[in-house]
């Protein structure tokens, strides 16, 4: 076997980790082994700083069919259907090459969902950039949006949601978190644990090239000043091949007795194969000479670690290999037998019959944990004095024009939102609605996180992100049944960022426990800092809400003039953390912690009232507060809203509460009865009108109004 010539610490491994590996192996490792280990033990693959913490998140739930550790979380939605969902980051690549970075982020998360046996059905994207208007931010935004459209539209999976925020801390470290949702029948659920000595590994999809070598390691350090130099580490996506891969994978899964399946992502072939083996407690012999290559001169370590896109690894009994290969060939995609299961737990890498390495799968798979040294918690910043209200009408227009509130319609318009026939409610307000198939059960889906909230309190901000995501699916009448998350933070080696990591996990755990929503998995992206500037802690929450009858979800029909407008829940009692406070130039302060009892009550009410057909439209009060939410209803429906509000204080009009909805109903009596029974505070504030304008009456203020066209001009800023 080849000997050791490199110093493994030059590959990013710490001296203590090298010692640990040598002790476990009982010998010095070879260059090839160090190369593989340095990738599999990177933060991106091994979750060294976060794995212990993540066990604080609740993961039990009666609908959970697969949870953390699986390629994607899987939840039961009834009638034999299940939904698979996961969110993952592709931040560093998108900072360097936005179009391909985003495209491959979409492709990567799509294959995670595919690996569960599910048909990918929808994408959502959570995007964060520095303030718009600078050449670099505009370039990154345009590139990322184009990358999402390029991959998603072609691969035939609609993009149905997402969120987009601008904050100066993302200037150098933009975030691209992609979520994929897929549907499957329960019996189609697959696992990645390898088993059965002699079973064969079939590598399906693209030829292996030199792209993305060391991508996982690249994602596990802070971006360099000359980050553009890292462009070769960014993979290139091919959505056409991605589409062929979906169809070939699903057809082979349907027709052949596939034992296990895993997508190739970080760490390439080595990452997938070793993870499958370690999970199943077996080993494998790998035949590198059989891996189809794009360039003939790839070194063994490159073949093992290449992150070439659009590849899946399937494990099949030897007798089924010819049929699987025939299916692949008919559909125009390559399938190569690249190894077989060994019972002894060793990973033996061979090339042309020569043994290059033999090491236990368990050694590769069990990276030593890295200790966290969090700074002690800061006291929350004091709540500043409230700015004075001034003119509510002008403030509303000013808020609507803020980059974080302005219209995203132009961006959504570049994504196919409908392909697949599953989109029942398109993106626009709160959450989109998907059906597993016409007539089948479905889900409402949303991703959320508000940087402003997390800036002053990572913990409260994280719990508020869970609350907002839950509110968004509840606004479609759905019951939140599971969440997936992507934790984006700075370097965990810095005590302040370590503290933030602990805080966001605790904040998510608190809200998930309070609301009874299991966490079905997620992704951690650390080292989002460069040049001394770290991002605001960004715990992105992807929420799945259950809808037994999605075709009757709230928002499928349209409101009718004359319908009543109700406020359900608890109005805001302070301005801290709000967009209005930022607009008014008030020192940012921590937002109020979530009002869980009020939120639980209204989360119970909406699905019941929605299923009974009592609510035509619901919208949660979030960014910008109550007036902004009312304006958004006028913009969304093309109808008018006329209201009389109880207070004219800025906190009531512009505060951002954690448990407040606007509901439009044709049957206010029924909703009032339900509200009383469930303990939901309710107030009728006005009605829907034919004339497209927002009319607002407030105590001691003259009545004022804004035409829909005026609102449109305010939000209509073209971000692309």
């Amino acid at each position: 076997m080849p000997l050791n010539t490199v110093d493994p610490t030059t590959l990013g491994l710490r001296p203590s980790e090298c010692e640990f590996a040598r002790r476990q192996a009982g010998r010095e490792l070879s260059d090839l082994e160090w190369a593989v280990l340095s990738v599999l033990w990177s933060e991106h693959c091994a979750y060294k700083h976060s794995r212990a913490l993540l066990s604080r998140l609740p993961r039990e739930g009666e609908r959970v069919l697969a949870g953390p550790g699986a390629g994607a979380g899987v939840l039961d939605i009834g009638e034999g259907w299940a939904v698979a969902a996961k969110v993952e980051s592709h931040n560093h690549p998108s900072a360097v090459e936005p179009l391909q970075g985003a495209a491959t982020g979409i492709g990567g998360i799509m294959r995670d969902v595919l690996s569960m046996g599910a048909r990918p059905a929808a994408f959502l994207d959570s995007l964060r950039f520095g303030m718009p208007g600078t050449g670099r931010t505009d370039y990154l935004l345009r590139g990322v949006v184009a990358g999402i459209a390029h991959y998603g539209n072609c691969v035939g999976v609609p993009t149905v949601g997402g969120d987009l925020y601008f904050h100066p801390s993302y200037e150098r470290n933009p975030l691209v978190n992609a979520m994929c949702v897929g549907f499957l029948r329960h019996e189609q659920l697959r696992d990645s644990a390898a088993s059965g000595e002699g079973n064969r590994f079939l590598l399906l999809g693209a030829r292996t090239g030199r792209d993305g070598i060391g991508g996982a390691a690249f994602a596990s350090v802070t971006l360099r000043e000359d980050a553009a130099e890292d462009r070769p580490r960014v993979q290139v996506g091919d959505p056409f091949l991605g589409k062929l891969l979906i169809e070939a994978t699903l057809e082979i899964l349907a027709c052949e007795p596939v034992v296990a399946i895993q997508d190739l992502g970080a760490g390439g072939l080595a990452g997938a194969l070793i993870e499958m083996c370690a999970k199943g407690g077996v080993g494998a012999e790998v035949w590198l000479e059989r891996v189809p290559l794009r360039a003939a001169d790839l070194a063994p370590a490159e073949i093992l670690l290449s992150e070439s896109q659009e590849r899946m690894l399937l494990l099949l009994p030897p007798a089924s290999i010819p049929a699987a290969q025939a299916t692949a060939q008919r559909l125009g995609i390559i399938a190569a037998e690249v190894g077989e299961v060994r019972a002894d737990g060793e990973i033996a890498v061979t090339m042309g019959g020569e043994l290059l390495s033999r090491l236990s799968a368990a050694i590769y798979a069990e990276a030593p944990m890295a200790p966290l040294a969090p700074a002690s918690g800061n006291a929350d910043a004091p709540v500043p004095a409230e700015p004075q209200g001034g003119d509510a009408r002008s403030a509303l227009l000013a808020l609507l024009a803020r980059p974080n509130l302005s219209s995203r319609a132009g961006i959504y318009g570049t994504y196919d939102q409908d392909v697949g026939l599953r989109t029942v409610v398109r993106p626009g307000l709160d959450a989109a609605v998907l059906r597993a198939a016409p007539g089948a059960p479905g889900v409402a889906v949303a991703v959320d996180q508000t940087p402003r909230y997390c800036e002053r309190s990572a913990r409260i901000g994280a719990s508020l992100a869970v609350c907002e995501a839950a509110r968004n699916v509840a606004a479609r009448g759905a019951v939140p049944i599971g969440l997936t998350n992507c934790l984006n933070l700075g370097s965990p080696e810095r005590p302040e960022a370590a503290r933030e990591l602990v805080d966001v996990v605790d904040g998510i755990a608190e809200a998930a426990n309070e609301l009874g929503i299991p966490v079905t998995g997620g992704n951690v992206s650390l080292y989002n800092e460069s040049g001394g500037l770290a991002i605001v802690p960004t715990p992105v929450i992807g929420m799945i809400g259950h809808l037994p009858d999605p075709e009757r979800a709230i928002g499928v029909g349209s409101p009718i003039p004359g319908m009543r407008v109700l406020l359900l829940g608890q109005p805001a009692d302070r301005l801290a953390g709000s967009e209005f406070a930022e607009l008014a130039g008030v020192q940012p302060a921590a937002p109020a912690p979530p009002d869980y009892p009020a939120l639980r009550a209204v989360l119970n009410l909406l699905p019941a009232a929605g299923a009974a057909g009592e609510i035509a439209l619901a919208h949660d009060v979030a960014d910008g507060g109550l007036l902004v939410a009312l304006a958004e209803i006028v913009l969304h429906t093309g109808l008018g809203v006329s209201v009389n509000l109880a207070e004219a204080t800025p906190r009531y009009l512009f505060g951002e509460p954690s448990a407040l909805f606007i509901a439009v109903t044709g049957d206010p009596g029924a909703v009032l009865l339900r509200a009383a029974a469930l303990g939901v505070r309710v107030k009728e504030i006005g009605e829907v009108t034919q004339s497209a304008q927002l009319v607002v009456g407030m105590p001691t203020e003259p009545l004022w109004s804004l035409e829909r066209a005026q609102l449109q001009r305010a939000v209509g800023r073209d971000l692309l």
Partner: protein
Amino acid sequence: MIADVVVFPGSNCDFDTLEALRLALPGATLRRQWHGELDLSRSDLCVLPGGFAYGDYLRAGALAARSPALREVRRLIERGGLVLGICNGFQVLVEAGILPGAFQTNDVQHFLCRDVHVRVASSESPFLSGLREGAVLQLPIAHQEGNYRVTPREFEELSSEGRIALQYCGADGEIVPRENPNGSYHSIAGVLGAHGRVLGLMPHPERAAWPEIGRADGLEILRGALSVVAEGGRA
């Protein structure tokens, strides 16, 4: 009645189209056929679905148009069968020279997905026989290269032969530039082949075949094939 949906590598609306045809053509035999094994000898209707055939590499529809499958499609047309090209399928028919014209990138220079209104400009086709001229339909579009071009002379010919099938318009049916989403010449959204038995259109009728969610204006186009079968089959 036998209806076939052709699947090219990269087609992505094939399942959707089958699902909608199931609803629109009750009792019909529906087949999803891989392009390499295409057999239309017993077919009454062939649909070229939306998607990105061959990744739309080179030009949208250009590679699929040169696939041997198109020989089968031409034979079906010669026999008087019906052919419907939706979005990418329309692009394939144009690239194959079965329908006139050419496509450019949308005038906004990016992909567009939204509902549009289209006005039925001719009912001289089985696909449009259930609709009256001037009827307005609400249908979704989803394309990057939908800017349909013909020469002024070709436009005159198509018009005089009643082969302009659909034009983008406002909700009131008015054909004006601001309601033209992609810059198509004279707001053309769909054209007919000779004898009206071939229809190519950019909007997706299969995405609007669903009354339960309030999108049903595409059903009538998909049902059109029934009119021919009711008359006694192929001409």
